[in-house]
Amino acid sequence: AQSVTQLDSHVSVSEGTPVLLRCNYSSSYSPSLFWYVQHPNKGLQLLLKYTSAATLVKGINGFEAEFKKSETSFHLTKPSAHMSDAAEYFCVVSEWYGNKLVFGAGTILRVKS
């Protein structure tokens, strides 16, 4: 069975500094991995996804994530945080047949001016 662990429940950065949101996964098969973002009172929006192609995945709004099989990690990064990045971020894994997404507990990103 798959599982996802987001290592930080809260991350606080200053505007213009790098962002790192950590995610480790466990999966019996070759997983598909996703990062979703949820702004307050908004729906979930897909940031990026990994599906066994390039291990470095680029997403929207300058975010990217690197799939590292040896470390079972899929950390989300951004070189320079913007105030609008403040939101909750979810790391997600799906089985190879894609029927069910398993969500991490979420990381709340705070961006200080």
């Binding site: 598909s32 908004k42 979930l44 599906t51 190879w96 047949y97 997404l101 991490g104």
Partner: protein, 115 residues
């Protein structure tokens, strides 16, 4: 439609009443999913549909919860005899199919409060 649409967006109900939550997936999407998000927690999988059938109901919390889908389109999640612990955001999502890597698009959710 352009995105996944859910109604009602907000629902306050008395304990013991039944509620129905509706989901209109993106047109042409054969896969439809229901998730629940309790306050301060991650998303819990409830059920998914491939067409009108539901191969995986493993996430439904109890027999008070049921869901159906008709016409390979609209889905309804029904909660009978609501309890306070049912208070949550109920999220519907859809995708073209259940194949791996298919992007799953979420609606904005139905916020349910049981008082």
């Amino acid at each position: 439609g352009a995105g996944v649409s859910q109604s009602p967006s907000n629902k306050v109900t008395e304990k013991g009443k039944d509620v129905e939550l509706r989901c209109d997936p993106i047109s042409g999407h054969t896969a439809l999913y229901w998730y629940r998000q309790r306050l301060g927690q991650g998303l819990e999988f409830l059920i998914y549909f491939q067409g009108n059938s539901a191969p995986d109901k493993s996430g439904l919390p109890s027999d008070r919860f049921s869901a159906e889908r008709t016409g390979e389109s609209v889905s309804t999640l029904t909660i009978q005899r609501t309890q306070q612990e049912d208070s949550a955001v109920y999220l519907c999502a859809s995708s073209l199919s259940t194949g791996t890597g298919n992007t799953i698009y979420f609606g904005e959710g139905s916020w349910l409060t049981v008082v």
